[in-house]
Symmetry: C2
Subunit: 145 residues, 2 copies
Amino acid sequence: MKQSKYDALKLENQLCFPLYACSREIVKRYKPFLDEIGLTYTQYIAMMVMWERKSVNVKELGECLYLDSGTLTPLLKKLESKGYVTRMRSDKDERNLVVAITEDGEKLKDKAVEIPYQIAGCTNLTPEEGVQLYGILYKILGKTP
Amino acid sequence: MKQSKYDALKLENQLCFPLYACSREIVKRYKPFLDEIGLTYTQYIAMMVMWERKSVNVKELGECLYLDSGTLTPLLKKLESKGYVTRMRSDKDERNLVVAITEDGEKLKDKAVEIPYQIAGCTNLTPEEGVQLYGILYKILGKTP
DNA sequence: TATAATTAAATTGTGCACAATTTAATTTAA
DNA sequence: TTAAATTAAATTGTGCACAATTTAATTATA
């Protein structure tokens, strides 16, 4: 095997690259299912938080999703225009914007609930690999750089 | 533990979400190092292919990076304007655009070679976890959905 | 060999991501 | 208590991603 001081720069020796490619690949596999309920992937994970929390402010939502207001503000305006959430300044502290789920947003949950099962058929990992991957990814996320 | 038919829709039960979050998190960790050589992450992985292949057409580059011409065309124009690659239609088949590395592009490699080692200090995985992650990610990428 | 089908890039339009800045509200401290 | 510091969203600007369409070149076929 020919060695070079540049080996560390080869695409095949990167861990970050397959992570980046895989992330996009999986989002692409979600697309046909998400199209049926009219959500993008980012809107879908935002709705996941809403289905669980019912009401959060932008900062909390951002902490859940690792996203900032620059991404969330336009996204939440879109979810509002679709009628799935409302956006209102908090009475207690008007700096906070409270995002709350609507009845239509709740109804969407019943359509969305099939998606995880449909997606399961699109991956080829063993249950063990899934658990390993999950653990490793959250280990990376947990480390404050 | 309270169970619900909606458990599959919880963010914490997703595999895709930490993948998506991790991918962005790691790209963010590259940013300070990439800033020093004036490349974005996508430009960096494109240059990795160029450093290895010297000359490729857009289609081949897209296959390496899992990206299409919609993403690559503007990106390659930027790399061209920075002087790291040239873009020329192929003589044999004018549908093909040949992207070739320049001398400046080659020189950049010597600056970039430090980056993988600098990044290594920013992750917290054991070597075994790294190997596991690598294998699982390429298994996902390999499966034609 | 014309015509149809295919192929490769480029283009168009939408939706993130995110750094940096701005605006407005609240909290802290002199 | 008022001025400074902090905080939360929104805004601005850049750079992807990617679906869908267009343009131009090449190949296959009737």
